[in-house]
């Protein structure tokens, strides 16, 4: 069974304090790994798609990386507006384009 585990469940940082969020996955064949940002009471907002081990994507203070077993979302010099829940999801090749398996998310809080 395809599974996604995110850690930590919650992370509190000071403004400017860099850190990383982890997404570990087991999947029969990886078609893609997705990162989303979700603000309270809102729908998830797409951040990145990674397709193969070694791939990296960047957007402002965020950088996503991928290995064969996990993905990291690195946050460099975060600001309070980066506070949100970050969701990781995988799409398996056997599932076609229909199903994403989501982790439970990491709730990130950046204190000014």
């Amino acid at each position: 069974e395809d599974q996604v585990t995110q850690s930590p469940e919650a992370l509190r940082l000071q403004e400017g304090e860099s850190s990383s969020l982890n997404c570990s996955y087991t999947v029969s064949g990886l078609r893609g790994l997705f990162w989303y940002r979700q603000d309270p009471g809102k729908g998830p907002e797409f951040l990145f798609t990674l397709y193969s081990a070694g791939e990296e994507k960047e957007k402002e203070r965020l950088k996503a990386t991928l290995t064969k077993k996990e993905s990291f979302l690195h946050i460099t010099a975060p600001k309070p507006e980066d506070s949100a829940t970050y969701l990781c999801a995988v799409q398996a090749t056997k599932q076609g384009a229909q199903k994403l398996v989501f982790g439970q998310g990491t709730r990130l809080t950046i204190n000014p």
């Binding site: 729908g43 798609t49 969701l87 384009a97 199903k99």
Partner: protein, 111 residues
């Protein structure tokens, strides 16, 4: 550009009452459409998806049903709500890739 709408934004319903949540997508044709539920402290769970008008696939057995009467309209329904149906319901769309775009969500509380 594409936009996705959901309504209502919030809903409080008594146990045993019916449910109808609506989702519409603008700016794209023949999208794949999805209903997800997000319970407190849990990940997003796929409930239904549709690849075309009248085509509905159910991912988990439950008290809910879905319909797609038009290309860009997706409806989530129940005849009798249960307490366990409470949650945050998200509609999403995608084209051929796995990347999905989510709507603003509906917060459903069943009392």
């Amino acid at each position: 550009s594409q936009t996705i709408h959901q309504w209502p934004a919030t809903l409080v319903q008594p146990v045993g009452s019916p449910l109808s949540l609506e989702c519409t997508v603008e700016g794209t044709s023949n999208p794949n459409l999805y209903w997800y539920r997000q319970a407190a402290g849990r990940g997003l769970q796929l409930l239904f998806y549709s690849v075309g008008i009248g085509q509905i696939s159910s991912e988990v057995p439950q008290n809910l049903s879905a319909s797609r009467p038009q290309d860009r309209q997706f409806i989530l329904s129940s005849k009798k709500l249960l307490l366990s149906d409470s949650g945050f319901y998200l509609c999403a769309w995608s084209l051929s890739s796995g990347r999905k775009f989510f709507g603003p969500g509906t917060r459903l509380t069943v009392l």
